[in-house]
């Protein structure tokens, strides 16, 4: 691209018009981009509201992310606090409320770069775990930000396994107080967000002791900082846990408690209470607790995994039609890198996955809403299925999306490595999602427990939840495909996925049985099979994902070419999965070697088909340039100019270089002894 042409672009907007290499990609989409955006939003009205929210946020300079890549940890934290504070004003100004339709788009518009997210968790935990009286006392204070809350569960030495927490809360009957202590270093609270610098209060999870007896882990509201001058309260040691891979704007904190006393009323007591005389009372079902976890996991699939993948795909695919490298045909100009089959194979399956997971996320949300209604009616029968679903899908979607975002980063070559591409920050952030709200391996194994249980029940002819009835109807059978076109039939590939899932679950269940029958203890047998169990759960989740994608496509309107392009993406997602895990499908001969060659052929054909619509397919995600904050992924494709302009704003270029006077000059002038 010559400089002369560049000047031509400069006539339009700030950097000029749209790069012709990108413009040409948008000439003849096979479908209506606007219609697809509406589908993703769940209706035109939602698209309208979302755009209005994004516009309101992005036009406000306080929310600007322009300097994001040049800020220190301290500056990022301060900006996040400033934005959180300003958001309160903004919401009031705009008339947005927490129950309004706009609310869910605010986070997306801010790209999550905001403080006090744990404040919300603090409030939710009080609402769910607190008595009516406690709710009436604390929630209004929190709503008014008269206090800032956090949620302190994880300890330095303890994460996933709640029963292992070491913090203690001993009831002192004489003063009617709990005395909280951190008995040793591994018991220090570690990681809670907003706790290092901001929070004044936190919900502390501790082992409850009453009259020498341990009653297990319970939640307590503890004030940690003064409401006057923000200094630490007596007995409290707290601070920031130091730099992390990402989330620098959040002050994840540590907390040590030394004989900290809180009144008896500060133990959240919807389900358990210590009465004044020390009597411990348990009431109601704690299952609601699971519901909170489930809700959080379902919500994060969309916000923290699918959305970042969509952003990464947008950046990588737009850049791949602007970047030219090597020649495909002698004498022609260098080719767009998206025209290379290997580049298509890196990016397009992940684009398809972004859609597949978007639809599964909708499916889970529906399932959750239905479950929630049932639970409101005191019917808890859907809870195990909901819990298993949200665990397994949280794990598979975050894991898949995290590695897909990394692939997008590499696919942009050297420039992907620059923070200015926007990809490193997407990458480091999404990586955390594989661990928080349940470490993925552990979540897979939770789902495995459910599946094995259901499989046993189904084999014995007992009823099982609808999503797993397929386990009962085991049909060995071979794949009937005769040529590569047969593999474009959803029935054929869905059946292949189902077959693989059933085989992996049933063979692992059988293995477990054999071990137990041979005298191995149950827990040892379980540990012995965990590697296989994880694989079985993945197969199950992928089957459900493919099935749901295929069923979603069937329901779509045929107008505007939407159904057709979604069908292609569904085919691509499914065949890529078979192609890249061929062993799972070849094993036991459900798909033969010859059929696997057909899968490969169909899969490679699809890459070329979707290549044509790749840019419209990412345009449909409808991210603004400010949301993407990427020199490589902007709508106008003015990649190189933007990269150059942004680099020049780096403090390394705008400030003097202290290293020269101090070290380089003496070195060059051989005054090394002064170093």
């Amino acid at each position: 691209m010559a400089l002369l042409e560049t000047r031509k672009y400069l006539q339009g907007s700030a950097l000029g018009g749209v790069n012709p290499d990108l413009a040409s990609e948008r000439q003849t989409p096979s479908f209506s981009v606007e219609k697809l955006t509406a589908l993703l939003d769940g209706g035109e009205e939602n698209t309208r509201i979302r755009r209005a929210v994004v516009e309101a946020i992005e036009s406000d300079p306080v929310f600007s992310r322009e300097n994001q890549y040049f800020q220190s940890q301290n500056e990022k934290y301060e900006a996040a606090v400033r934005k959180a504070v300003h958001l309160q004003k903004k919401m009031h100004e705009m008339g947005w409320t927490e129950n309004g339709p706009e609310f869910k788009y605010i986070y997306r518009a801010l790209s999550g770069e905001i403080a006090f997210l744990l404040h919300t968790i603090f409030m939710r935990s009080i609402s769910v775990l607190g008595s009516d009286k406690q709710i009436a006392k604390w929630i209004p204070l929190a709503m008014q930000y008269q206090l800032i809350g956090s949620y302190a569960q994880t300890e330095l030495g303890h994460g996933t396994y709640l029963q292992g927490l070491e913090t203690t809360a001993v009831f002192d009957i004489t003063t009617q107080e709990f005395i909280l202590n951190t008995p040793q270093i591994s018991a220090m609270k570690w990681w809670p967000g907003d706790m290092g610098r901001s929070a004044t209060h936190t919900v502390v999870f501790a082992q409850l002791y009453v009259q020498g007896k341990c009653h297990g882990v319970h939640p307590f509201i503890v004030q940690i900082r003064s409401l006057q001058d923000h200094s630490l309260c007596p007995g409290i040691t707290a601070g920031d846990i130091g730099p992390k891979m990402s989330f620098e704007h959040i002050d994840n904190g540590y907390l040590m408690l030394q004989n900290v006393r809180v009144p008896r009323e500060n133990m959240l007591s919807k389900f358990c209470e210590v009465q004044p005389d020390g009597t411990y009372v348990r009431r109601g079902s704690q299952q609601m607790n699971y519901l909170t976890m489930t809700a959080v996991r379902v919500a994060l699939i969309s916000h923290e995994a699918v959305t970042p993948l969509m952003k990464a795909c947008t950046i990588a695919i737009r850049y791949s039609v602007v970047r030219r490298q090597s020649k495909l045909k002698p004498g022609e100009e260098e080719a767009k890198i998206l025209d290379f089959q290997t580049q298509q194979e890196k990016l397009l399956p992940h684009l398809a996955a972004a859609y597949a997971f978007h639809f599964i996320s909708n499916y889970l949300q529906d399932l959750f809403n239905r479950g929630y209604e049932e639970i409101q009616r005191e019917n808890f029968s859907m809870l195990p299925e909901l819990h298993a679903f949200s665990s397994g899908f949280k794990a598979i979607v975050t894991q898949y999306c995290a590695s897909a975002v990394e692939v997008c980063l590499w696919a942009c070559g050297g420039h992907g490595y620059s923070l200015l591409s926007g990809l490193p920050s997407l990458c480091t952030r999404i990586l955390a999602s594989c661990i928080y709200e349940g470490e993925n391996t552990i979540l897979f194994l939770q789902t495995a427990r459910f599946l094995i249980k259901c499989f046993m029940a189904a084999s014995a002819g007992h009823p099982v939840p609808p999503s797993v009835t397929y386990l009962a109807a085991v049909k060995p059978g071979k794949c009937p495909a005769k040529n590569k076109f047969d593999f474009l039939s959803p029935d054929i590939y869905t059946q292949a996925y189902r077959h693989a899932a059933v085989r992996l679950i049933s063979s692992t269940a059988a293995k477990l049985q054999v071990l137990i029958q041979s005298g191995v203890k149950k827990h040892d047998a379980w540990n012995e099979c965990t590697v296989q169990l994880v694989q079985a759960v993945k197969a199950h989740c992928l089957y459900i994902t493919v099935k749901n994608f295929a069923e979603t496509v069937e329901r779509l309107e045929t107008k505007g070419g939407i159904q057709k392009i979604m069908k292609h993406l569904c085919d691509l997602f499914a065949l890529h999965g078979i192609f890249s895990n061929s062993g799972v499908f070849l094993y036991d001969g459900h798909i033969s070697g010859a059929q696997m060659d057909m899968v490969t052929a169909s899969y490679l054909d699809l890459l070329a088909v979707i290549r044509k619509d790749a840019v419209p397919l990412v345009d449909a995600f409808d991210f603004t340039d400010k949301t993407l904050n990427s020199a490589l992924g902007s709508y106008d494709g003015q990649v190189y100019q933007r990269l150059y302009e942004w680099a020049r704003k780096s403090p390394t270029n705008t400030q003097t270089n202290p290293a020269y006077e101090k070290y380089l000059k003496p070195l060059l002038h051989k005054k090394l002894s002064k170093l």
Binding site: I148, Q325, G583, Y587, P666
Partner: protein, 659 residues
């Protein structure tokens, strides 16, 4: 020392020092390495605050300080051997790059190999004495891998006997070279040479970019830092734009091609000569893959022995997380991979050393194969290590995400090696080109030699390859597994070559057919590299004399080979190399090996012999005192400098007052 780690070390079945000697290449070398490392560790001048607490500018400044110090100290200690310099720097830098890195590698090396005697005489003393600091400016903003596409021009002006350098477009701005932004005052610039109105292709020029004495950019030069990156905070990767910048004719590197005073161009003899440096640099990346993955494994495995979590048996205390099968399955195959890559790295380095003598004599016959092999292995090992480092981090749960674990730094520093010195996919396709060429030779009746000689057997095997192979693979025998990998590579190379042929029959252009087959070709290359690695690992076992060490290395070798099969079962099944029943056995055997390796896991990472200061990890400390030290580390965080953060007064308090 943490009691868990002490117990682990006592239970090992072999002496870690013996394995360290093997990795170092002999006890003498281990001793010398430790001696050199000790110089750095005990030198107070090299002490500094944890870089994770510093801003990017401060990190750069620290790196410059260290770089300058190293120049001085290396002289003081009289360390001159390249390998010893590498040990010294490695201990000093940890996982971080140094801004002078390219001065000593590419700048100096290029001047040593591509200049005339007169040029050597002029420049080398300046370079070796660090009177000038240089870098190597090749990549441009719009052009990386495809060298011929570079746009920078150097036009010869016979009137003044100068070259006029220009960056004609935005895309032609030099972008990425390390040390270019702020540190260097000279650069070797690659540019399209124009003389007598003709373009003669890419050539290298020495270009001064900053004024000696003031360090200000010279007129006609625009130079700066390209801004923050994923990692490499200490490195001032830079940009360089030249506007009618003139340099004397003598600044073109003229050992091979030349421009005479009147502008006559004299062609170089062979263009293969530049392969040598590329092979060398890529072989370093293979070694670095092993090194970086070893460090991540050390951290994750030690931490997994210290960390206790959940319940394996009801009523018992929380077990070490290393006792969970899923944790072993995450980490031990990576440990085996680190060892495998280490032996591969050593092999390439030795081979390069052996044949570089021949290259200087003008015998280039072995170069194409080595070049093809290192391209693929560079890609294979860096991809695998990159993903492996991430897995190690994930295996450390939440604490792995903290910068104190050290793994984020290892990762962000290592990950660009998938892109630099040849983008990995492009590298795989270079290897594929060699494989297809070898296959074509075999098809036309010629024999091929070296690592691809298995292709000679294809015609013989064609009778009934499946059944022959399936019966003979023995899962406990590394040599037999090498055969299985060989059969897989042959099968995939043949499949890719045939698909390419079919595409050629359908389409007009060669390039199109190649592009339409490239996914297959990459798979073939991967399978070839995988075979080479298994083969080299298996061959190494025979060299190990100590029985206990050999036993544990054999387990690792089997684990590496069998895990590779279990992750690529499709190939082995579809090619008929293994049956369903054998695949089931492979998976079972993998689990048995995990249990067998478990007692030696800590000793196996101890054998890598990383000093704590080099490891740079609170989780991976040799003494295992993880939690106390995490707390100590966190207290130093910049957010903790004051007890009440200023944002309380600026934002929180006013908000609470208003609401």
């Amino acid at each position: 020392m943490n009691a868990d780690l002490r117990r682990e070390r006592a239970a090992a079945t072999f002496q870690p020092e013996l394995l360290t000697h093997i990795l170092d290449g002999g006890p003498d070398r281990t001793r010398r390495r430790k001696e050199i490392g000790g110089n750095v560790i005990n030198d107070p001048d090299f002490q500094h605050e944890d870089l994770n607490f510093l801003s990017r500018s401060q990190r750069y400044e620290q790196a410059i300080r260290k770089s300058s110090l190293m120049v001085m100290k290396l002289r003081e200690y009289g360390i001159a051997d390249p390998e010893e310099i590498y040990w010294f720097k490695r201990t000093c830098l940890g996982s971080f790059p140094e801004p002078f890195g390219l001065h000593f590698s590419m700048f100096q090396k290029t001047l040593e190999t591509q200049t005339t005697d007169a040029q050597k005489e002029k420049w080398l003393p300046l370079v070796r004495g660090v009177k000038i600091i240089g870098t190597y400016a090749q990549t441009e903003m719009g052009h990386g891998t495809h060298l011929r596409g570079l746009e920078t021009t150097a036009t010869y002006d016979p009137a003044t006997q100068e070259f006029i350098l220009n960056s004609p477009t935005v895309t032609s701005i030099k972008w990425w070279p390390g040390g270019l932004g702020k540190t260097s005052n000279h650069a070797i610039v690659l540019a399209q040479l124009y003389t007598q109105g003709q373009c003669k292709g890419l050539h290298a020029f020495i270009v001064p970019i900053r004024q000696l004495g003031t360090h200000e950019p010279l007129p006609g030069i625009t130079v700066g830092d390209i801004g923050p990156k994923f990692g490499y905070d200490e490195m001032d990767n830079g940009y360089l734009k030249m506007d009618n910048f003139r340099i004397p004719r003598e600044n073109m590197l003229m050992k091979y091609a030349q421009v005479e005073p009147d502008g006559t161009y004299v062609k170089p003899l062979s263009d293969k000569l530049t392969y040598g440096t590329m092979v060398f640099i890529r072989s370093l990346i293979v070694g670095d893959s092993a090194h970086s993955l070893s460090r991540a494994c050390t951290i994750a495995i030690r931490y997994s022995a210290v960390r206790h979590q959940s319940e394996l048996k009801p009523g018992e205390p929380e077990p070490q997380i290393l006792d969970y099968q899923t944790q072993q399955y995450k980490l031990f195959p990576l440990l085996a991979t680190a060892y495998a890559f280490h032996f591969v790295g050593a092999y390439i380095k030795d081979t390069y050393r052996r044949i570089s003598g021949d290259i200087n004599e003008g015998d280039l016959s072995e170069l194409p194969e080595l070049h093809a092999l290192t391209a693929g292995l560079k890609a294979f090992t860096s991809w695998t290590a990159n993903a492996g480092i991430e897995e190690c981090r994930m295996a450390c749960g939440g604490h792995g995400y903290s910068r104190c674990s050290g793994i984020p730094d290892i990762y962000v520093t290592f990950t660009p090696s998938c892109t630099y010195e040849g983008e990995n996919t492009v590298m795989m396709l270079q290897t594929a080109r060699f494989l297809v060429k070898s296959y074509t030779q075999v098809s036309s009746g010629q024999r091929v030699t070296g690592m691809v000689s298995y292709l000679n057997d294809l015609s013989r095997q064609r009778i009934q390859p499946q059944h022959v192979a399936a019966r003979t693979v023995m899962l406990n025998d590394p040599v037999s597994l090498v055969e299985a990998y060989k059969a897989r590579a042959a099968w995939l190379v043949e499949a890719a070559a045939k698909n390419l042929e079919a595409e050629l029959n359908h389409r007009r252009s060669k390039e199109d057919a190649w592009n339409k087959t490239s996914v297959d070709l990459v798979q073939a290359s991967e399978a070839h590299c995988h075979y080479v690695i298994v083969k080299l690992f298996a061959a190494k076992l025979a060299e190990v004399s100590n029985a206990a060490v050999r036993a544990v290395l054999t387990e690792l070798c089997l684990l590496y080979a069998l895990c590779g099969i279990s992750k690529n079962t499709g190939d082995f099944l579809q090619a008929g190399i293994l049956t369903d029943a054998q695949i089931t056995q492979v998976k079972q055997r993998v689990k048995e090996l995990l249990a067998a390796i478990r007692p030696n896991a800590v000793a196996l990472v101890d054998s890598f012999d990383f000093h704590d200061s080099h490891l740079g990890s609170v989780l991976g400390r040799y003494d295992g005192n993880v939690y106390e030290n995490m707390f100590e580390w966190a207290k130093k965080s910049p957010l903790n400098k004051t007890e009440v953060h200023e944002s309380f007064h600026k934002h929180l308090k006013p908000m609470q007052a208003k609401l």
